[in-house]
Symmetry: C2
Subunit: 192 residues, 2 copies
């Protein structure tokens, strides 16, 4: 729902919108396979690889993973330079922190998230509710880990956001419309 909300928000604000296509931009920039980049960003990268009892072992992140991270930062900075925009995910709140972006966290309760995932499900063998919930939790874990690379503020905790928006049982079109007005007012009040 984050993406549907983000797209509508960008439309209301009259600015550019970026989400999944960032993956292919990052892949091109780092000259790496799109599936690899997508997988790396989805699973998340540990900041401090734990190596208990193992000496001279390989660190858990490798050169290619570092290239993905660097490319992600460079692409986000390039896009932000082009002009005002809405970016969904990709730890943009942390990577672009020096530009003082307005950070929104969109969330919903687990039942709603499972139901929305199942609505979008196109597989011949759809996941059960329990499997969908497990997948959602894994994805969240990956997001949390990736976010932790760039900031000490925890992903999904209120301290890092200007606004946290519960979309449980909500019409995202309505939300985006009035949140766009709120963001407009917020920037105007700051003289920006």
């Amino acid at each position: 729902m984050g993406r549907v909300f983000g797209r509508k928000l960008a439309e209301e604000l009259g600015v550019s919108y970026y989400d999944k296509q960032l993956i292919s931009e990052i892949s091109k920039h780092a000259d790496l396979d799109e599936t690899y980049v997508s997988g790396t960003l989805e699973k998340g990268i540990d900041v401090y690889p734990v190596q208990c009892g193992v000496t001279f072992s390989q660190p858990r992140y490798n050169k290619q993973m570092m290239e993905v991270i660097v490319a992600q930062c460079e692409i986000l900075k390039q896009l932000a330079k082009k002009g005002d925009c809405v970016i969904v995910g990709r730890s943009a709140d942390a990577i672009l922190a020096d530009l003082n972006p307005f950070n929104v966290f969109v969330y919903a309760d687990m039942a709603t998230r499972v139901a929305r995932c199942k609505e979008r499900e196109t597989s011949q063998k759809p996941l059960s509710d329990r499997e969908t919930e497990r997948l959602i939790k894994e994805i969240d874990k990956g997001r949390e880990k990736s976010h932790a690379l760039f900031t000490s503020k925890k992903w999904g905790e209120k301290e890092g956001y200007h606004l946290m928006l519960n979309t449980t049982d909500c019409d995202v079109e309505v939300l985006a419309k009035s949140i766009a007005k709120y963001i407009d007012a917020w920037f105007t009040a700051k003289g920006l």
Copy 2:
């Protein structure tokens, strides 16, 4: 800042507003001293008094404390029956949960909270920044404890709110104005 925001929000929505005056209503209702009621509600009441190593001891909450809690619930329910309103604090989100209220959590970073407290300070011997911070944390702890009496949803954690609003460096008048519009749109979308 929660109260300033709440008052402005009620004004924008054209509904009644309740905060500190609830203390005197609760005191009258329970026939208890206002200072006692205010102190009890501020410190918060433990749900599970810990009685390690002590047998046949008095529980840590007494009859009067229970009267305060009952009066608080009754007063809030009475007020809600009168019509739409904005209630600041008093665990109204949890106590009135069956009425499906719109729950907003207003927060700010510690530096901002300390500065705002000091602006309102009228004492001859004002507290230091560190003492103010300690006091704020104590008050939060009390709120968290009181809230836990009525719900399993944690005070200040996103799951229990429709909207969480960071007021750090913000003009509360602007915030309240556009949030009122958001809340209006939210209720309209739900046909309420």
